[in-house]
Symmetry: C2
Subunit: 275 residues, 2 copies
């Protein structure tokens, strides 16, 4: 197959490298940065630098851009994709993306499957990308009305890239779960380092400080957009978290040892049960 990758950042670059390392498909790269394209070519992350013709010939297109840019790209190129070309995005939020891209697909005769490869790191850009980024990670698909063979093709490619779990769900379920598993930890990390005690943590901290604060090294522009695209789910989940912190805080303030024990034991049981 001819596989086009739009945007060779951390995710797009890693998809390109993983496909080149594990499949024999032809990988064509698109990026607004000429240097990145030449680097990707030089490093063998792509077979060719993309062109309008190459886009027309693509069997699968991974749009690896920020949400608004992804929608804009597909809109501008909607007429170029060949019939039944499979177009997929990698956006961390599906509301506001899936609906618009599915509509463009229906109007223009290509196939759209929402996707979210659940991987990342603190650094971004092509330089940070790596073929092994997805090892054992989860790839979430939001197929909507897409034909099953298209979804199967993408799932097989995900398997080849090293993903360990393939998850299928609706857009609503995706966004509710992501608010919890990914957005809340990012809010939390930022809120945590805002304490004046952060400035003096050195010498007083160990693994638990490091783990909670890790993702405070945040890509502010990207996450501001992701948060705003999932406003309701995220604010609900943050309220849930605040209530649960308040419960423990109140038990500590009241010196209620039995209550603290009950809350911590329940948490431990959940962590042991659900991992």
């Amino acid at each position: 197959m001819q596989i086009a990758i739009i945007g060779l950042g951390l995710i797009g670059g890693s998809i390109a490298k993983a496909l080149k390392a594990n499949t024999t498909h032809t990988v064509v790269g698109f990026d607004r940065d000429e240097n990145v394209l030449l680097d990707a070519l030089f490093l063998g992350a792509i077979d060719r630098i993309g062109s309008t013709t190459a886009l027309r010939e693509a069997d699968v297109v991974y749009v690896c851009l920020y949400p608004e840019d992804a929608v804009a790209f597909v809109r501008e190129n909607a007429e170029r994709f060949k019939p039944r070309c499979i177009v997929t995005d990698v956006c961390g939020i599906k509301g506001g993306v899936c609906g618009r891209l599915a509509a463009l697909a229906a109007e223009n005769g290509f196939v759209y499957v929402g996707g979210h490869p659940m991987a990342g790191k603190e650094r971004s850009g092509f330089e940070a990308s790596e073929a092994g980024l997805f090892y054992n990670a989860s790839y979430i698909f939001v197929p909507g009305d897409a034909p099953q063979d298209a979804v199967k093709t993408l799932a097989e490619l995900a398997g080849a890239m090293g993903f360990g779990t393939i998850q299928y769900c609706t857009q609503q379920k995706h966004d509710r779960m992501i608010a919890y598993t990914s957005q809340v930890p990012h809010v939390l990390a930022c809120a945590y380092v805002m304490s004046p005690r952060c400035d003096e943590h050195n010498g007083f901290s160990a693994g638990s400080y490091r783990d909670v604060s890790r993702v405070a090294k945040i890509n502010a522009e990207l996450w501001a957009d992701l948060f705003l695209s999932n406003r309701e789910e995220l604010t609900d989940e943050l309220s849930e978290l605040i209530r649960n912190i308040e419960s423990i805080r109140t038990a500590v303030e009241d010196g209620d040892r039995e209550k603290i024990l009950a809350l911590l034991s329940a948490a431990r049981e959940k962590k042991e049960k659900f991992g």
Copy 2:
């Protein structure tokens, strides 16, 4: 030197193993569990099983028990320590421990130095202990009025065990910093897994879920006591955290992109500056 270790759990067991692996001192082990003592002897983590006589001959005593048990042990054995014997604890909280142990030291002619080796893991007990647990970690000392040569002896032993940082401070500073670096992440992990979404996280989660929830596998009895021994500092720090989460939550609810960007960028700067 003759070094006595009271309690061969995760910390005491690891201290024993680290001392045996890296020094030529004689390590004597005490534990209420006969099996643990025999295991420790068999594995070479200690040179001898402790006795009253061995305690009388000890030059350094590491009391590796929960806070209340540590104070009780030292009180019951206060007359047995030889003059200028160095007694130190490993409690995660210093208020309510240092004062009482320093008083017992002054009354009975031994030396007390508060200590907190900043290391841990999700499992506890001698089985989980390891000589390398302290590699590059921080050892906090609360010397109070202890003579400098005693503090120096403990700092040298800490260096031999593999600690990378030695930190000296007052009891008050220790407890304020620990509320932030260690207790808040434990409260947070427990509060985080209380969400109903935790039950379904599998397939939707990656590194940031794993990192925030890790310490929810909590030793409830131990941490309930640690929280209650540091009530004021911990509730203050939790209030600070809740306020900071609320700030981001409100900005998201209001759809205030500029405000979100400002908060996240400030967090990123702090994380980059302070690590």
